[in-house]
C-alpha cells in the first residue's frame, strides 16, 4: 500500500517536472543557505574557540605603561615599569596560580644556510604552564637557566619548518643575532591567536638571557609584560583587584594618580569575542531559516494548486474506495518528497558552497553532521507542516462535488 503511494507521489511529481523543480528550488535554496551559513558561523566559532584554548585559561596580561583612561597617558619608561621582581611579588598573591614575566622582541635567526626573522620571547619556565604550552620533543629550560642566563632556546613549529627542513632541531645550535643558542626543545603547534597572529612563529629563551644578552634593558629586570593565571574563573575579579593594589604600592603611585601599568583580563576579552561569534552565527542561521520558511510556503502554494487541479482525480479515487486518510497520505507524501529531495539537493549545494567559500576566501568552514541532520528534519517538518493543509483539503472534498468537477 505505502509502496503504491510512494510510486503515485513520484509519478505526480514527474507529471509536471518544471513546476516540481521550481517548488523544490525554494527548499534547495533554503536548506543550502542554512547549511552554508551554519558552516561559516561554526567555522568562525571553531577558530575563536581554538584561539581561546591555545591562549591558556583564566589569563591576565599586565602591560607596562598606563592605560589611556582620562586622556592622560604617562608613557612607558617615564616611571619604573614592570620587572621580574614585580612578577615574583604577584606570584605570592592569593588566587594567582602562575606568573610569567616576558620580554618579546624581533630577531634574525640563522641555522646552517637558512635564516628566518621571527619573534624571540624571553620568558620563565612558568610561561609554559600559564600558556598551557606543551613540548613535542626535548625539555623546557629551568629556573637555573633563568638564573644564569644561559643561551638555550625552544623553537615553535613555524620556525622548525623554516629553518630545519626535516632535521631534528633538539641538540642543534642556532644563531640569534650572531650568538649561538642551543635548541633544547620543540614547542607543540598552537595555531592562530585571536588577533590572527601565528603563535608558532616564535623562539622562547630565558627572560634573563633576553634582557642581558639579546635585547638589553633600560634598567635591571625590566620586562614588557607579565602574564598571570588565576586559580579559577571565580578568582579572577579579586585577583585583578589585588594585583592592581600590589603594583600601585610597588610602583609608589599616589592616591588618585594614573596607573603606570594596565591589567587586562584576556579571558574576558576572549569570551566576549566568542560570544560575538556565537551571536553572529546564530543570526546567520536565523536569516537563512527564513528562506527555508519561504520554501515551505512555496510547497504549500503549489500543493494547493495541485489539489484544485486534481479535484476530479480525487473524486474518482474516493468513488473507487479511497479513504480520507489515503487521499491525505497521497498529497502529504508528495509534499514530503518534494521537500526531502529539495533538502537533499540543498545539502549538496550548501556543502559545495561551503567548500567553495573555504577555497576562495580561505576562511574556516565547519560542516557538522548535526547541522545536516537538523536541516533534514526541518525539511521533513516543513513538508509535513505546509503539506498538511492542502492534503487535508483534498481529503475532505465532498465525493459528488469532486466527481462533478471539470
Amino acid at each position: 500500500m505505502i509502496g503504491a503511494m510512494i510510486s503515485e507521489a513520484w509519478h505526480a511529481m514527474g507529471a509536471n517536472r518544471l513546476r516540481t523543480f521550481l517548488t523544490m528550488l525554494g527548499m534547495v535554496i533554503g536548506v543550502g543557505a542554512v547549511i552554508l551559513m551554519l558552516a561559516i558561523g561554526q567555522g568562525a566559532q571553531f577558530q575563536v574557540d581554538q584561539s581561546i584554548s591555545s591562549m591558556g585559561s583564566n589569563l591576565f596580561i599586565i602591560l607596562s605603561g598606563a592605560s589611556t583612561s582620562g586622556g592622560v597617558r604617562s608613557g612607558s619608561g617615564a616611571v619604573p615599569t614592570l620587572t621580574i621582581s614585580d612578577a615574583e611579588a604577584l606570584a605570592d598573591l592569593p588566587g594567582i596560580a602562575g606568573v610569567a614575566p616576558t620580554l618579546p622582541g624581533q630577531a634574525q635567526i640563522v641555522y646552517g644556510p637558512n635564516n628566518w626573522s621571527t619573534s624571540v620571547l624571553g620568558a620563565t619556565p612558568q610561561y609554559f604552564d600559564v600558556r598551557d604550552w606543551k613540548l613535542v620533543s626535548g625539555y623546557p629550560f629551568t629556573e637555573s637557566d633563568v638564573r644564569s642566563a644561559t643561551r638555550v632556546a625552544l623553537v615553535g613549529q613555524t620556525v622548525v619548518k623554516n629553518l630545519f627542513d626535516d632535521e631534528e632541531p633538539v641538540g642543534k645550535t642556532i644563531r640569534i643575532r650572531q650568538s649561538p643558542y642551543l635548541v633544547i626543545g620543540v614547542l607543540s603547534a598552537k595555531g592562530q591567536s585571536l588577533d590572527g597572529r601565528d603563535q608558532d612563529d616564535t623562539v622562547v629563551i630565558p627572560v634573563t638571557t633576553a634582557q642581558t644578552k639579546l635585547f638589553g634593558s633600560q634598567f635591571k629586570g625590566a620586562v614588557r609584560f607579565i602574564m598571570a593565571q588565576a586559580t579559577s574563573a571565580d578568582a579572577m575579579p579579586s585577583a585583578e583587584r589585588s594585583m592592581n593594589q600590589l603594583l600601585r604600592q610597588r610602583h609608589h603611585i599616589q592616591e588618585g594618580a594614573e596607573n603606570d601599568f594596565t591589567v587586562r583580563n584576556l579571558t574576558a576579552l576572549a569570551n566576549a569575542a566568542a560570544e560575538t561569534t556565537r551571536v553572529m552565527s546564530l543570526m546567520l542561521g536565523a536569516i537563512a531559516s527564513i528562506s527555508l520558511l519561504v520554501g515551505g510556503i512555496g510547497i504549500m502554494n503549489i500543493m494547493l494548486v495541485s489539489v484544485t487541479e486534481r479535484t476530479k482525480e480525487i473524486g474518482i479515487r474516493i468513488a473507487i474506495g479511497a479513504r480520507q486518510r489515503d487521499i491525505l497520505m497521497q498529497f502529504l507524501l508528495e509534499a514530503i518528497f518534494i521537500s526531502l529531495i529539495g533538502c537533499l539537493i540543498g545539502v549538496a549545494t550548501g556543502v559545495g558552497g561551503a567548500i567553495l567559500v573555504n577555497k576562495v576566501s580561505g576562511s574556516v568552514v565547519v560542516i557538522t553532521l548535526s547541522s545536516i541532520v537538523m536541516a533534514f528534519m526541518v525539511a521533513a517538518g516543513v513538508g509535513v507542516f505546509f503539506g498538511f493543509y492542502p492534503a487535508n483539503k483534498a481529503a475532505r472534498l465532498e465525493p459528488i462535488e469532486a466527481l462533478r468537477y471539470e
Binding site: 500500500m1 509502496g3 503504491a4 503511494m5 509519478h11 505526480a12 507529471a15 476530479k312 482525480e313 473524486g315 474518482i316 479515487r317 474516493i318 468513488a319 473507487i320 474506495g321 479511497a322 479513504r323 480520507q324 486518510r325 489515503d326 465525493p399 459528488i400 466527481l403
Partner: protein
C-alpha cells in the same frame, strides 16, 4: 433486517440546502433490488435519478428514510466503512469513463486494489486478467487517451469489476458512445448479469439501452413514477 435484498430503500428522501431554502431532490422512495437483477433507471433531467444513484453508491447520504445495502443501514457506518463499501461491494461505471489520465490502463484497473491493501505483483496480475476479460489484455501499458472511448469504457468496467463487487452502478455508461460501441458495452453488462449473477443498476436516457434490463424504474420530480418490467413500447414512447 436482512431480507436477502442487495438494495432496500424505505421512505428515502433527499433535500439540498440552497440559499433559497431546502430543495427536495427525492421524496419517499421505497424499493428493493434483489441479487441478480438488472435494473434500468430512467427519467428526465432533474428527476432525481442521479441523486438516487449517488445515494446507492454511498457517495451521498439520504436526508430522510433509510438505505440498506446488503441489509446494513449505511447511515450507521463511518466514512471509512463507506469507503470500504465503495471499494469492495460496489463497482462504479461513469458516463465520462473517469480513468486517471496519467496512469496506465493496468494501473487504472488495479487502483481499487491499492485501496484494498493488495501488494503490487498480485495487483498487476489481477488487473491484467481483468483487462483480458474485456478484450484489452495487450494494452496494459497504454495511457487512457491513446485508446477509443469504447475501449476506455471497457477499462472502466474492468476497474469496476476488479474487487468482485456484487453490485454495479452505471451512470449513463453509453452516453458518450456511438450506437455500435454502446451495444458492445451493453453486451458486457448483460453477460456479467447473466453469467456471473452481478446485480446491475444502470441509468440511461435511451430506451433501447434500457431494453437490455429486466426491470425499469422511472423517476419523475423526485418521485418513483414507475417500477416494473421493461416495457419497450413505453420506452419507445419517450
Amino acid at each position: 433486517m436482512s431480507d436477502g435484498s442487495v438494495v432496500r430503500v424505505a421512505g428515502l428522501g433527499k433535500q439540498y440546502h440552497t440559499a433559497a431554502g431546502p430543495v427536495p431532490a427525492l421524496a419517499n422512495i421505497n424499493l428493493s433490488i434483489y441479487p441478480g437483477e438488472f435494473v434500468a433507471v430512467m427519467g428526465p433531467s432533474g428527476s432525481g435519478k442521479s441523486t438516487f444513484m449517488n445515494i446507492l453508491g454511498c457517495l451521498d447520504l439520504p436526508s430522510d428514510g433509510s438505505y440498506f445495502l446488503n441489509g446494513t443501514d449505511v447511515r450507521s457506518l463511518t466514512k471509512d466503512q463507506l469507503a470500504q463499501l465503495r471499494n469492495r461491494v460496489i463497482g462504479f461505471v461513469f458516463q465520462g469513463f473517469n480513468l486517471l489520465s496519467r496512469s496506465t490502463l493496468l494501473k487504472n484497473v488495479g487502483l481499487p486494489l491499492v485501496y484494498a491493501g493488495m501488494g503490487k505483483d498480485e495487483r498487476n496480475k489481477l488487473a491484467h486478467g481483468m483487462l483480458e476479460k474485456v478484450g484489452l489484455g495487450k494494452y496494459g501499458d497504454s495511457l487512457p487517451n491513446s485508446i477509443s472511448g469504447g475501449q476506455q469504457q471497457r477499462v472502466a468496467i474492468a476497474r469496476a469489476l476488479i474487487n468482485n463487487p456484487r453490485l454495479i452502478l452505471a451512470d449513463e455508461p453509453t452516453g458518450n458512445l456511438d450506437s455500435n460501441t454502446s451495444r458492445e458495452i451493453m453486451d458486457i453488462f448483460s453477460r456479467l448479469n447473466r453469467e456471473e449473477g452481478i446485480t446491475i443498476v444502470l441509468v440511461t436516457h435511451e430506451p433501447d439501452i434500457a431494453a437490455y434490463a429486466k426491470r425499469l424504474v422511472r423517476f419523475m420530480d423526485g418521485r418513483l413514477a414507475h417500477d416494473g418490467a421493461v416495457d419497450i413500447q413505453e420506452g419507445r414512447a419517450e
